[in-house]
């Protein structure tokens, strides 16, 4: 299959490209930029006039819910959602049922994903067995099976000795440890930021200190052990400052935030909107501003969808009983574009936050469109507004705080290894 994408605005942050250039694809690879290679005859010509052509998006956290939670979502539905969102590579956390703590499960997941062939799936293995924070998993075996890092998802290790050992062991082999910092005790039963809204609505609070205390512990252990650390889903202003200090010190630390947190605060909970029940919780305006700033100045390496499809019944409950999480794969692009536009940042910065920068965290060769790289491409219309509503989403998870809003940025084509896996 040879594809000629013509008249598009090619934006490839890693290679410093932002210009009207055609892209030529053959045998799953990029074979020409700007001009066709010799004797190139396209089987298919995509007219990208008025559209942006960029690397396929790389999402650092998308829950596919398989195995175990097929009533919430299936691999097929969520990989379709990825394709519809322009996401061609995604990392999935290990909090499935059973937990991704055995090589066989990881191989099965990789195999199923390959068969569907809608996105590259990079599983994160469990750092401890059953995510129980007691016994280490077979990290070497899991890496051989395809894991790209080790994570506790949203189940922090409370025992600091185990955390220390886990990071030491991972550091032995150079594996990256992905941790979401949250102090189990301070966050116990909490459902909302410890601010004015929680005080008014009588919601159980999760103080900012639940995150910063855990982060301080994790950063200190990273320094002690030399483990490569990726900190997931930061939510407070102080956390960003702490990561900046750690980076300045030279620690091998990266971090990400969820796209929802670029736009929402505790006030969006309104009258107990369960769609705004997220983990970590939506925090104050000051925190939101710091996250927006941190992503712009590079302290925050990447923005992810934190895609967490929840079945409808699990959201049809009072706020505190409703399951945390929101669908996100199809919103990553428009939400990140909205942030960049509001901050007066160039499109290429927005795209870098979803491509080059997360690809570097995962250690992928993709995330850019240099010659002879895999042809993972996202083609989108940056001006096209679309309404976020259940029927507009491919994901089985329909819940998002943005329901009813119109957002700009509609994916028109998604190309995976040179095959068109989505078009509209």
């Amino acid at each position: 299959m040879k594809i000629h994408i013509k008249n598009g605005r090619l934006i490839d942050p890693k290679n410093g490209v932002d210009a009207k250039q055609d892209l030529f694809i053959a045998a799953g690879k990029v074979v020409g930029i700007g001009q066709a290679p010799a004797d190139f005859t396209a089987n298919q010509v995509i007219d990208a006039t008025g559209l942006v052509v960029c690397p396929g998006l790389v999402d650092l956290s998308a829950r596919l819910r398989e195995p175990g939670y097929e009533y919430k979502a299936t691999l097929e539905s969520e990989m379709l959602a990825a394709a519809a969102g322009g996401v061609t590579s995604l990392a999935c956390p290990p909090d499935t049922d059973p937990v991704l703590d055995e090589p066989g499960l990881v191989e099965m997941l990789k195999h199923r994903a390959r068969q569907l062939n809608l996105a590259h799936v990079y599983p994160l293995g469990a750092l401890t067995r059953q995510l129980q924070g007691v016994n280490l998993t077979e990290m070497c075996e899991l890496t051989e099976a395809g894991c790209v890092g080790f994570s506790q998802a949203d189940k922090p290790i409370t025992d600091t000795l185990v955390l220390w050992r886990a990071m030491q062991y991972a550091a032995t082999f150079g594996f990256t440890v992905w941790l979401h910092p949250q102090d189990t005790y301070l966050a116990a039963n909490g459902v909302a930021h410890d601010g004015e809204i929680a005080a008014r609505l009588g919601l159980r609070p999760i103080p900012a200190a639940a995150e910063t205390i855990a982060l301080a512990t994790i950063l200190r252990l990273a320094r002690e052990t030399g483990a490569r650390l990726h900190v997931c889903r930061l939510s407070t202003a102080e956390s960003i400052d702490m990561v900046a200090v750690a980076k300045a010190e030279g620690l091998p630390v990266t971090c990400d935030i969820a796209a929802n947190h670029l736009h929402l605060t505790e006030y969006d909970i309104g009258f107990f909107d369960a769609n705004c029940h997220l983990q970590p919780p939506l925090r104050s305006q000051r925190d939101k501003d710091a996250l927006r700033q941190g992503l712009a100045n590079g302290t925050i390496d990447a923005v992810c969808s934190d895609h967490t499809p929840v079945d409808e019944d699990a959201k049809l409950l009072p706020f505190g009983e409703a399951e945390a999480g929101a669908t996100g794969l199809e919103l990553l692009l428009p939400l990140t574009l909205k942030w960049a536009q509001e901050q007066s940042l160039p499109l290429s910065t927005a795209i870098a936050c979803m491509t080059t920068r997360p690809a570097a965290i995962l250690g992928l060769k993709s995330g850019h469109l240099g010659l002879q790289t895999s042809a993972d491409v996202c083609i989108f219309d940056p001006e096209q507004y679309w309404k976020i509503e259940a029927r507009a989403l491919k994901s089985q998870g329909k819940n998002t705080p943005f329901t009813g809003m119109e957002l700009a940025g509609k994916v028109r084509y998604t190309i995976l290894d040179g095959d068109i896996v989505y078009k509209t």
Binding site: G195, A198, A199, R200, L201, G202, L203, A274, L316, L317
Partner: protein, 316 residues
């Protein structure tokens, strides 16, 4: 701004919280309650305002007192009353809240009185019921208990009609208290210029001052020159542990005694939402003393709940 409690033309559709209620509606409820106070003293303690209507008391959390007052209020309005203790029935069989509510709707109930342990439960149910049904929040988690707050301000208004001239102190466990949150909003909406909260830091939510109150951690300073002392209940399970060291120490530091009450204005009144813990948050000599209005509160509670139900039924 969207207000789930009001109809499009600004009338009371549900009573979910005091926050968001305009002063005019609160005053309407209190004035209507005045007219119901006399009903209980008549030979025939009934008025026909809710005749033919069915009121469902759906209690997902146990409560005898509140349920009983709602039941009496509804019966004095001639409604048919169904009491459902869901904590001991369908929910333990796995039925969801909405299934329970839908089933009662199918039985043609007109009004739901809801108590639930989760903040926001009444809002949640109000959002999902059929349009002709009115929802009254009888307590949701730590969030709101609007009828309790209304009967409290009704009582205060009876004894101290000049609301815009009062200094009021709430004493005790504000953190876990839906009553406190609703009382604060009721007082500030009615124009009380100074509302204080007095409690140890462990029993106050972060940012409580954003609710428009002055924060005190010392009874002597906090009670000085107040017109009304509103006591809050301290749950048994919170008396010892990480929130408080012991009931004794709590009584010593934050319990209301005659000596501490003497710091308030001489004609200050004392309220309590009940049930009281004598000797823990309040001394018996205060609870039964001349400044206590705790029993009148209970009487007025029925009139206030009758007022709420009759106003809701009139807003179809």
């Amino acid at each position: 701004m969207y207000n789930p409690q009001l109809t499009d033309d600004g009338k009371l559709k549900h009573l979910l919280s005091i926050e968001g209620l305009p002063k005019s509606i609160i005053t309407q409820i209190l004035d209507t309650a005045e007219s119901f106070v006399g009903v209980a003293e008549r030979e025939v303690k009934k008025v026909p305002l809710l005749r033919g209507k069915t009121v469902c008391n759906i209690f997902f959390e146990n409560s005898t007192r509140t349920r009983t007052t709602f039941e009496i209020a509804a019966k004095r309005l001639s409604a048919d009353v169904i009491n459902l203790n869901v904590s001991t029935s369908s929910q333990s069989k796995g039925e969801t809240i909405l299934d329970t509510v839908d089933n009662l709707t199918a039985m043609h109930a007109d009004m739901f009185v809801i108590r639930h342990s989760q903040s926001g439960a009444a809002h949640f149910i109000a959002r999902h019921v059929k349009p002709h049904i009115h929802v009254i929040n009888a307590g949701d988690g730590r969030h709101a208990h609007p009828t309790q707050a209304l009967l409290d301000v009704f009582t205060i208004r009876r004894y101290k009609p000049e609301m815009h001239n009062l200094r009021v102190a709430l004493v005790g466990d504000v953190l876990h208290s839906r009553v406190a949150r609703s009382e604060i909003h009721a007082l500030t909406t009615l124009g009380v210029p100074e509302v204080r909260v007095i409690a140890p830091k462990t029993l106050l939510p972060e940012h409580v001052e954003k609710l428009g109150v002055h924060v005190y951690h010392d009874m002597a300073a906090g009670l000085k020159d107040v017109d009304v002392v509103m006591m809050l209940r301290l749950q048994n399970e919170r008396m010892t542990g990480a929130l408080l060291p012991s009931a004794q120490e709590y009584f010593k530091t934050f319990g209301l005694t005659q000596e501490k009450l003497a710091l308030a204005k001489p004609d200050a009144i004392v309220t309590h939402p009940g049930p009281m813990n004598r000797g823990i948050e309040i001394d018996s000599s205060v609870a039964d003393g001349r400044q206590s209005v705790i029993l009148p509160q209970v009487t007025y509670g029925i009139a206030v709940r009758m007022a709420v139900m009759s106003i809701l039924a009139g807003n179809n």
